[in-house]
């Protein structure tokens, strides 16, 4: 949407990528990540808010830190901005340790969750604030501010005070202000949390477009997994001050590395059990594990790439990969439908695009299934108390060690 404003945005992009950044940082060498966080620890009293966390962020990346509240993601972001000093570890920007550099001396800017706009300054002066501190000539400031105002489409509102703006407009002022100094890294702390759903969705797309066009490095903190998955190229899932997994959205969802990640990202069915036997692994058959679960009987799952070392396992299957039918899968599905579980539908939630079912299995567990409503009239929909067969393929299961 903001793409049409492209008058002088190439300028922003050019200097944001290094060449004439206000701080004169040299262009990062290809093999050195733009930002490297090394074994960083931050303690508040006895509480370790960030606990030995390491992470590399490449130049031009859109990286999301995702986690429940209190997981340390905001503390990590504040350490990158300079508002908190790590107790241990290093933060390298272009190979230089900035962990103890004051915030006003870092080529990193932040967009605050509450926007933190200066209430006594108008839109123009808010955006120009950082430029004036950089001792930029007046004419240049004027030009840059005008360019940013066009970029975030706030033309005509230059003189308005923040309290005369709508939430969405304030969000744009905050964005323009944080972009004004052309930061090497832009930190965004829950930037869309205060917007309503529709505005949030369109702003997500605008942010992505902006980041791609300006070639900037964005690190966004969010507790909203859909937001993280929509926007970010990579997501770091945090819990208790540590990174549980760093991966692209698809990998995070389809191949979670731990039970915690599997449960945190999206909905999932989990069945605990023990490894019974391993078979296959030859030409005609992919290696396959048989797992005896407590509540869902014997399940066949594809062997994961990393070898299983523990006896106690957990079989995870996403609801949309569980199919329901009245009399079992059609013959053509037979090879895929190695896992068949019988039960009774206990709950049906029609959600528009999909319908979510809860099935009480004969083994005792509740299995969730969601099926796309591909036809407007679905004569085959299941009602409560309907007896069904739920089935899913071994390849759709994820095996997690307990």
């Amino acid at each position: 949407m903001m793409g049409q404003a492209g008058i002088t945005t190439e300028d922003v992009a050019k200097s944001a990528s290094g060449a004439d950044s206000p701080n004169g940082e040299p262009q990062a060498a290809a093999d050195v990540p733009l930002l490297r966080i090394e074994a960083v620890v931050k303690k508040f009293g006895g509480f370790r808010a960030v606990d030995g966390l390491s992470l590399d962020v490449r130049a031009g990346e859109f990286f999301a830190l995702l986690g429940p509240s209190g997981c340390g993601k905001t503390t990590l972001l504040r350490m990158l901005a300079g508002f908190e000093t790590p107790d241990e570890g290093r933060i390298l920007l272009d190979g230089k340790d900035i962990a103890r550099v004051a915030p006003h001396e870092r080529p990193i800017n932040m967009m605050f969750q509450n926007y933190a706009l200066f209430p006594h300054l108008g839109v123009r002066d808010n955006i120009a604030f950082g430029l004036k501190r950089a001792a930029m000539p007046g004419a240049e400031i004027e030009a840059r501010v005008a360019e940013l105002i066009a970029l975030v489409k706030l033309e005509g509102l230059e003189k308005r005070k923040p309290d005369q703006l709508s939430g969405g407009q304030r969000q744009r002022v905050a964005l323009a202000r944080s972009l004004a100094r052309r930061p090497r890294v832009l930190l965004l702390d829950e930037p869309l949390a205060a917007l309503d759903k529709k505005l949030r969705e369109s702003t997500q797309l605008e942010l992505m477009e902006l980041q791609r066009r300006l070639g900037l490095t964005f690190i966004i903190v969010t507790h909203d997994q859909e937001e993280a998955m929509t926007m970010a190229g990579r997501i770091g899932v945090m819990d208790s001050g540590r990174l549980e997994q760093v991966a692209a959205p698809r990998e995070l969802y389809e191949a979670p590395r731990s039970r915690w990640v599997a449960e945190f990202v999206g909905d999932i069915n989990l069945f605990e059990g023990q490894l019974e036997r391993r078979e296959g692994g030859h030409l005609t058959m992919a290696p396959r594990l048989t797992i005896a679960t407590r509540e869902a009987g014997i399940l066949q799952v594809a062997e994961p790439r990393q070898p299983i070392t523990k006896e106690n396992l957990c079989v995870a299957i996403r609801p949309e990969k569980v199919k329901l039918s009245r009399r079992g899968p059609a013959a053509s599905d037979n090879t895929n439908a190695l896992n068949r579980l019988e039960g009774v539908v206990t709950d049906v939630s029609y959600l528009g695009g999909v319908t979510a079912y809860k099935v009480k299995l004969d083994g005792g567990a509740v299995l969730r299934s969601s099926m796309a409503n591909t036809a407007r009239l679905d004569l085959d929909a299941y009602g409560v108390n309907q007896r069904v067969v739920a089935w899913f393929s071994p390849e759709d299961c994820v095996v997690l060690e307990q």
Partner: protein, 303 residues
Amino acid sequence: MSSRSIFTRPARLAAIAPYLWMALFFLVPFAFVLKISLSQTAIAQPPYVPVFDPAEGWDAIKTAFAALSFDNFKLLVTDDLYVLSYLRSLVVAAISTAILLLIGYPIAYGMARLPQRWQSVAMMLVIVPFWTSFLIRIYAWINILQHDGLLNQILLALQLVATPVVWLSTDSAMYLGIVYSYLPFMILPLYATLAKMDRSLLEAASDLGASPLRSFWLVTFPLSLPGVGAGALLCFIPIVGEFVIPDLLAGSNSLMIGQTLWLEFFTNKDWPVASSAAVILLLLLLAPLLLYDRLQRRQLEAR
């Protein structure tokens, strides 16, 4: 409907209560003072003429009205004694307010930055001296400042001075007394604005390249201006009319208007001149009050 009649009546009463209060305890007394200020002094009971006596009928009141004049006001604006008193009051109030601001701002700023549980302790420390009577505290200062008082004893003991310094009955003593007495009135409104300031604004300023000192001047100070205005007026207005502190601590060679007023009223028994002095004082103080009101209204509109 019944609930409406129950609730609107007390609500309406509550809404007009402040106006009733103002009419009863400000406007009516002020009308008396204004009338006396337009009268002439007399050796009588009460010590001025004319006197309105409703018992004498409508015509008598009309002649009494005709006898009112602005002579006292003419005297006040032409006689140096009064003009200088007014000027001195304004200057003393302005200087005191400036000193109060210089001392009160850092204290309020420090309080606002304390950890939450220490803030209430600091607030108590500011307020507690006021549990002692104002007069006792001023007399305590006389004790400290007098020739053989605590201050001179300490200075002599430390051999900072060879002979006792004259503190009492000087302008310095008066300023000390005023600043000491009015400091809480400066600190509390300043603290109130500084404490509710969003700290993320300072973080944003530093994130955008402002050093801590610049952040203060560009963000904290401008945003604390309402508190500065409130504190300054809260101190300036009563200091202009201050009587006790200059009377007890300052010398007698120049008077503030409060002292002049007291002299006219009690020593000269010239109620009309004293009343007109009070009326002019009120008009002088109306200007800063209206200014403050306008500033506040503008801020409310901006919101």
